[in-house]
């Protein structure tokens, strides 16, 4: 049994199964990501800017710019 598990020639099956599995995940997630609403995308992408992080080394700039 042990030798057979090492030497059997069904490796191609694993490769195809692995590829199919990963592609299906990739396609499903991509499809879902593409279907996300624009407003939702904008809200999520802007989250890092929802909290001001003043930077004293940017003092010459206007506050609004520095806060982004």
């Amino acid at each position: 049994m042990f030798q057979r598990m090492i030497l059997h020639d069904s490796a191609v099956l694993y490769t195809i199964a692995a590829f199919s599995f990963a592609v299906s995940i990739f396609v499903a997630v991509s499809w879902r990501a593409l279907r996300m609403r624009r407003s939702e995308i904008k809200h999520l992408a802007d989250l890092p800017f929802a909290t001001a992080t003043p930077a004293s080394h940017d003092e010459p700039k206007s506050k609004s710019t520095a806060d982004r």
Binding site: F2, I25, F26, D46, P48
Partner: protein, 775 residues
């Protein structure tokens, strides 16, 4: 909802603590790195001292680099960004402080044990079991603090950086616990529960994914937060970040076996590891491009802003390392590159370029904000960048050149592949010495750059007042669970149920008998058809499930756990079930005698496995150089496995009986007296330190409980067996003209080395006794 607003003050003290710890430990890790790189050039720098010897310091360097340097930097980044992304202060000050001081205690404990040979002997999993327990406790405290904070958040949506942090916390917990399962023999020693091929697979499932989920995913989360902040524009494509996350998390966990290509690991696992590694190109480069394209319109700032310089270069190195990794996972490329300096170059491209530069960029961005004072010197930070970049390029190009040279020389054959072109291993070592020196210079430059950062930091924070960030929020914001999906709702829904049924039928198809195969095929087809039909008619319910899942931290975490656990289970469970000594059909390792086991422990303790592999690959040059290729059963009782990952010296899988005992004695005492030009340290303390016979019975007992077929022996018998064999070796040495007392460690190590490559042929009626003990 009332209009009353309250001000929340973030816990930035913990961020400052981790940030300072990052700077200190990074310097230590790099300093040790430069020292051990120099030791490979100048063996005298080992100082004939056990705790300053290369093989003792190398684990200190890797552990300091991964867990002390990068660990502290990711904790700083995670704590800073999480509070702001979820608009809530960290849940517990106590847990935050416990996390910080606990993590520093772990680092100090590691530094106090590894140089003294107290190790588990598994790469990146060297820390002894009491420290492992500390790591788990502190990591749980980190996880509780993090998820508790998420539960108190005032922002319902979870930004993609938080996804990466969640994946990091749960996956590292899983990997660390499984890989470190051990049975103690004393307060400072234990044997891993997995041995042989199981140990190899679990080790690299852990080792590879430590890179994936400790050095990559948290830093990606940091990239997705800090890069947009520094560039002052949102991430290029949030959609791409979603695809990046899920495809990376699903694919990464499967790739571990690529560290064991062309070895005795079953072929199906090697193929699986290689295939998934190649597929990693897509998500990794998707993430890299997303990072770089975030700088669109801000490239002019890169010229002057050191933060953006570091981020841009760091993300580029991420792309470079994640292109190189899958390339090295191709079996034929791996045949050339494995066990050579190419792998070292690859690893340092990732750690110095990706982790180091991202950490530096983050530190320069955070310093003025955490201390409310401008950075002391932007010019110095720019100088740091250029010195560091030149250092990395020198280091990496030197290691590429060295690795490819080594690979070509070690694999070079003539006479139609029947004769080695360079039969002397030392020829290959001496050919790459200039590149090894170049590495010291490159690493040294990078270290100088880091010292510049430390100086800049000190001058910036001197006299500065630490400040904590604040945010104004509505006092009575509704809980983020308005659309919350419970545990039941997370799993009892069409997408999950159809997936589970399809998986079950798929397993029946692949592993079942005749009837089960047919049932599996029919069931899987039916399941897919029904799932598609259901999606067609009720597609909105599928999408609603996904949308609600993403705003619930707990269901999201469980789904991520399933994603990362699947790859591990499919690879590890068949290996645990099938690859056991009882199932062998070819060769089986002869268990070590008590003295040989003491020698094995010394081999592990002194880190010999870091330079010498015990795995003759299924490649012609390997077989020509070292002998018959290694069978899986020949190391089935090794806890942990000793296949190695780097050959600074030759493979030792069949060194047993090749040389007389005196040769080994002289070689360990002064390698250059036997092999002129060798860079191996002198291991002279082995001739003066005594074998720990007192603990040997306990070690044999633990080995027996792990499945090594030792016959019943009393403690006195174990010691007597060891003493008898030691006396025989000592007498042999005396007859050859060398005097060594039989109780010295070198005797045990010689006994072990002389055992390597000994095996028994397995017959159908082979019993599980221990024939080796009668030898």
């Amino acid at each position: 909802m009332s209009d009353t607003k309250i001000t929340i003050e973030f816990n930035d003290k913990i961020v400052r603590q981790f940030l300072l710890a990052t700077v200190v430990w990074a310097a230590v890790a790099m300093l040790v790195g430069v020292l051990i790189a120099a030791q490979l050039n100048f063996w005298q720098l080992n100082f004939n001292t056990s705790w300053l010897t290369w093989s003792r310091l190398r684990p200190l360097h890797t552990n300091a680099g991964i867990f002390a340097f990068v660990g502290n930097s990711i904790f700083a980044g995670v704590y800073y960004s999480t509070q702001r992304l979820v608009k809530a202060r960290l849940a517990s000050n106590f847990l935050s402080q416990f996390h910080f001081w606990g993590w520093q205690a772990i680092i100090v404990a590691a530094a106090a044990t590894l140089p003294f040979g107290l190790t588990r002997g598994q790469e990146y999993g060297e820390l002894i079991w009491p420290i492992n327990v500390m790591v788990v406790i502190v990591w749980v405290a980190f996880g509780v603090n993090f998820f508790w904070t998420l539960a108190r958040r005032r922002e319902p949506s979870l930004y993609v950086a938080i996804w990466f942090y969640i994946a990091t916390i749960i996956t590292i917990a899983m990997l660390y616990i499984v890989n470190h399962l051990s049975i103690p023999t004393s307060f400072t020693h234990s044997y891993p529960v997995f041995g042989g091929v199981q140990s190899a697979l679990v080790e690299w499932w852990y080792g590879h994914n430590a890179v994936a989920f400790f050095l990559t995913t948290p830093v990606l989360g940091i990239m997705y937060y800090f890069l947009p902040k520094a560039a002052e524009r949102p991430v290029y494509s949030y959609r791409l970040s979603v695809v990046h996350f899920w495809s990376l998390v699903f694919v990464y966990i499967w790739a571990g076996p690529h560290h064991l290509l062309n070895t005795a690991l079953p072929d199906w696992l090697q193929t699986l590891g290689m295939t998934f590694s190649l597929m990693l190109w897509a998500p990794s480069w998707g993430g890299m491009l997303n990072g770089l394209l975030t700088l669109r319109g801000a490239w002019d700032k890169v010229r002057t802003d050191p933060v953006l310089k570091f981020f841009a270069a760091g993300v580029t190195f991420y792309g470079m390392a994640t292109f190189e990794g899958p390339l090295l996972a191709i079996k034929s490329v791996n045949a050339l590159a494995h066990y050579t300096d190419w792998i070292i170059g690859h690893v340092h491209g990732g750690t110095l370029g990706w982790n180091g530069f991202m950490a530096a960029g983050m530190i320069y961005w955070l310093l003025p904000r955490l201390w409310s004072k401008p950075l002391y010197s932007t010019a110095l930070a720019n100088l740091h960048f250029w010195i560091g970049l030149v250092g990395i390029l020198l280091y990496v190009s030197a290691m590429w050149t060295s690795g490819i040279t080594q690979g070509l020389m070690l694999n070079g054959t003539s006479e139609n592949g029947t004769i080695l072109t360079y039969p002397n291993f030392l020829d290959t070592l001496n050919a790459v010495r200039p590149m090894m020196l170049m590495r010291v210079i490159g690493g040294g430059l990078y270290l100088i750059g880091w010292f510049l950062l430390a100086y800049n930091l000190i001058r910036t924070i001197r006299g500065a007042k630490p400040v904590n960030g604040t945010i104004e929020v509505y006092a009575d914001v509704p809980a983020p669970s308005a659309k919350k999906l419970g545990i039941a709702g997370s799993f009892f829904n069409p997408p999950v149920l159809f997936s589970l049924f399809a998986l079950g039928f798929g397993c029946a198809w692949m592993f079942g008998g005749d009837f089960m195969k047919i049932a599996g095929i029919v069931g899987a087809m039916l399941c897919l058809t029904l799932a598609y039909s259901h999606y067609e008619s009720r597609g909105k319910s599928w999408e609603a499930w996904y949308d609600r899942l993403l705003v619930g931290a707990l269901p999201f975490t469980l789904l991520t756990l399933i994603a990362v656990i699947a790859g591990g289970l499919i690879q590890i469970i068949p290996t645990l079930v099938a690859q056991q000594a009882a199932n062998l059909e070819d060769r089986r390792q002869i268990p070590y005698t008590p003295l040989e086991l003491a020698g094995f422990d010394l081999y592990v303790s002194d880190g010999c496995y870091l330079c010498h592999s015990q795995m003759i690959r299924t490649l012609v040059p390997d077989v020509l150089r070292y002998g018959d290729y290694s069978r899986l059963g020949e190391s089935i009782y090794d806890h942990p496995f000793q296949w190695g990952s780097k050959r600074n010296g030759p493979d030792l899988a069949r060194v047993g009986g090749k040389y007389p005992n005196l040769w080994h004695l002289r070689h360990l005492e002064d390698p250059r007296s036997i092999s002129a030009g060798s860079n191996m340290p002198n291991f002279r303390w082995l001739l003066t330190d005594s074998i720990d016979l007192a603990n040997l019975p306990r070690r044999i007992s633990v080995q027996r409980s792990l499945g090594v077929p030792y016959p019943p022996m009393t403690d006195a018998q174990v010691v007597a067996l060891a003493q008898a064999q030691a006396a025989a070796i000592s007498a042999d040495l005396r007859a050859a003209g060398a005097t060594v007392a039989p109780d010295k460690e070198v005797i045990a190590l010689i006994a072990y080395l002389q055992k390597l490559g000994k095996y028994e042929h397995v017959t159908h009626n082979a019993t599980a006794n221990a024939p080796g003990l009668a030898d």
